[in-house]
Each structure stands twice: as structure tokens, then as C-alpha cells.
Amino acid sequence: MAGPMKMRATLGQGYTDVRVLMTHPMETGQRKDSSGKLVPAHFIQNITVRRNGKTVVEAETSQAVARNPVFTFRIQGGAKGDRIEVSWVDTQGDTNKTEAAVA
């Protein structure tokens, strides 16, 4: 149901760089479709970033985050092989998550 996500977790200088891409329309509720009808609001509201099962970042987001959201987060330290997991929940209760090992 939810479109694909993609994530890349790499080691930076003293931190782990997590870049995550999400497929989502992020509808504002103000846009009209081709027939002139308002498209109802539909957007990601919560995002959670975990490292090796432990939550490190919690985000609350609005309809004014751009379509197909792309986020970069940074986590202190880290080592190759750490499991990074990012998940989201949207206004319709849809969820998706992706997992990657730090490279």
C-alpha cells in the first residue's frame, strides 16, 4: 500500500549519517485535482529513527513537508553493521518502515 522507502546509513566523522527517502503525497488539503475537487489532506505525522532497536529521533511533521520527504539525521558515533530503522505513520494510519546496516 505505502510506496517504497530507501535509506542509506554511512559513517561520518564521529557520527552516523542517516539519509532516508519516503514515497508519500504529503497532500496539504488545499490542492485541487484536475476535476476541481479539493484533494483531502493526507500526510506523514510521525517519524521514528532507531539504532539497534533504541529510539534516537522522534519527529512530528505537517502537511508542509515536501512531497516524497527526504530527511538526513545524524547519530553520535556508531559502527559498521549498526542496524538503523526508520518508520512513519500518516494521517490515515498507514505506516511503513525501512531498515539498513551502517556501511
Binding site: 490542492r31 519527529a59 502537511q63 508542509a64 513537508v65 515536501a66 520527504p69
Partner: protein, 148 residues
């Protein structure tokens, strides 16, 4: 709304609230703050008062954006003990854009794309040691990005 949040809303003790806060964040979405139509109302709903301007709160963003549908911004706090970053696009119909809570291990840094309806100040608030700090940058927008 989950039980934790209900508990918080019912005014559980300060100790309980602080213990439960990270858990509550799991599914919490501050409807009142995100629904606020002015920056002042959004800040009030978030419980932010008396934010101090800070040079240690960095915003990297273009001065002029070709298209408001996608405006890249990068924010970073160098204020020790920063636990959250909040982004407001002041002239958007709903100014509160996003709010990031950093738990142990996370650096107060985030890069994202926001939508902007028109030229506006983009304000960032950092929370550290129970205080709020603020920085802002104007981004000019050539084509507004809230219609689609």
C-alpha cells in the same frame, strides 16, 4: 489518542510526565500547535516562551528558492544539551512545519525539504536545558508551493 497521552492531558504529576515524555512522543502529534494559524499561537500551544536569539543555532538554506513546493533547509544546534528542534515557516497558512525530538545518541541536526506558500521568515527553535533559543532566515520564493 493513546493512554499515555490521555494520562498526560489529565494532568499527571510532573515527575510522571518527564518520565513518560519520550514514550508519549512515539505517537503524539500536537494537533493544536500544528493547527495554529499564527506563529505566536503555534508557540503558545507548544509551551514555548521567551526564546533567546542564538548564534549557535545554524540554518543553511537558499536565500531565494525557485519553487516553494520544495525548499531544502538544513538546521543544526551547537547549543549543548539540545533536545529538540522546531521549524516554523512564518507566512504559511499553518506556520508550524515540523518538530524533532533528539533522544540520547542523536545529534541536533536535520536536513529536510519544506513547502513555502510565499516569501517568508523560516524560524528554528532549539530546546536546551529547559530553555528555548531561536534563529531565523528569510527565504524568497519565486513560485509558491502550497497549491500543489
Amino acid at each position: 489518542m493513546n493512554a499515555v497521552r490521555r494520562l498526560l492531558l489529565q494532568g499527571a504529576g510532573a515527575l510522571a510526565a518527564s518520565l513518560l515524555a519520550p514514550l508519549a512522543a512515539l505517537a503524539a502529534w500536537n494537533k493544536e500547535a500544528f493547527g495554529a494559524k499564527t506563529p505566536a499561537d503555534a508557540l503558545k500551544s507548544l509551551g514555548v516562551a521567551g526564546a533567546q536569539p542564538s548564534k549557535d543555532l545554524l540554518i543553511e538554506a537558499p536565500q531565494i528558492a525557485e519553487n516553494g513546493a520544495v525548499v531544502p533547509i538544513e538546521i543544526e544546534s551547537r547549543i549543548p544539551g539540545t533536545t529538540s528542534l522546531t521549524v516554523l515557516v512564518e507566512k504559511n497558512p499553518f506556520p508550524l512545519n515540523s518538530r524533532f525530538t533528539f533522544l540520547e545518541g542523536a545529534l541536533p541536526f536535520v536536513k529536510l525539504n519544506v513547502k513555502m506558500g510565499e516569501t517568508s521568515e523560516v524560524r528554528v527553535l532549539a530546546q536546551a536545558g529547559g530553555r528555548y533559543y531561536s534563529a531565523s532566515q528569510e527565504i524568497k520564493v519565486t513560485i509558491g508551493g502550497c497549491g500543489g
